[in-house]
């Protein structure tokens, strides 16, 4: 961890300049080291069973996702079928009405 540069800190004797703010910001921020115990625990979690389970869970969820997608597409097709029937019927009627019938004079 970086040591604070206390001796370079601006003092409140006069007006605070922009560069003083910059110095405060520079002194305040530093790289923070996490607790070694936490680092070790998380590392173990990532590399051991945790990771295994997570990978399996992802695989299963992907399978679930595929199945769900199929159901949604199938459902959409089935729901659309009556409308397709009605449309076909209407189209047929329309075509019949437009047929030119020769009339005898």
């Amino acid at each position: 961890m970086r040591k604070r540069e206390a001796s370079r800190m601006p003092r409140r004797e006069g007006k605070l300049h922009y560069r003083d703010t910059l110095k405060i910001v520079h002194s305040y921020f530093h790289s923070v080291e996490p607790d070694p115990e936490f680092s070790l625990r998380l590392e173990e979690l990532c590399e051991s069973l945790g990771a295994e389970e997570l990978f399996q869970a992802e695989h299963l969820s992907r399978l679930d996702g595929t199945g769900r997608k199929g159901i949604i597409i199938g459902g959409a097709i089935c729901s659309a079928l009556p409308f397709v029937g009605v449309a076909a019927y209407a189209l047929r009627k329309h075509m019949l009405r437009r047929r030119v019938v020769p009339m005898s004079v």
Partner: protein
Amino acid sequence: MVGKERGERIHHEDGVLVQRAKEDREAFDALYRKYLRKVYTYVYYRVGSVEDAEDITESVFLHALIHLNRYQDRGIPFSAWLLRIAHNLVANWHRNASRRSIVGLDIVESLTDEGPTPEETLEEEEDFRELRRELRSLPDERQQAIILRFAEGLKHREIGDVMGKSAGAVKVLVHRSLLSLHRSLSEKGGRQ
């Protein structure tokens, strides 16, 4: 130019590590060790408490591990991808209003210095306390830019990768954030 070459080398190394981790999950360990401190530092300064920083950092790495296959190297470095995950999780954390009252940054408080006298330390603490307060009052985007620039030491281009902005836009954002902090600190100092 040297910095750019170094950045490209790190990008390439990360690409190799990510590819290896996609095939063999135990290889993720190398990425974890490389970026733990970076992610933790960012999260810590955004949430301000060790416990929450640990929780969120844990979530970041587990999230990265689960979705590693989704990471495609399209010019965005792996570190930027991780920091984006961290940013999203921190944003979720901030949305939870009940947790907003926690004010921490306990590591900064407990630092032991060798140099300054007690008076100087007291003044520093005061400066830091004010800075912390003003930093929290900045919009989310400005806080993110300042932390990435000064705590992580990222370049404008690298911050741009994380935030999805151009280097020029980041430069302006960082400058405006600093100006805003300066104005607030000056006003506080004037009132004292």
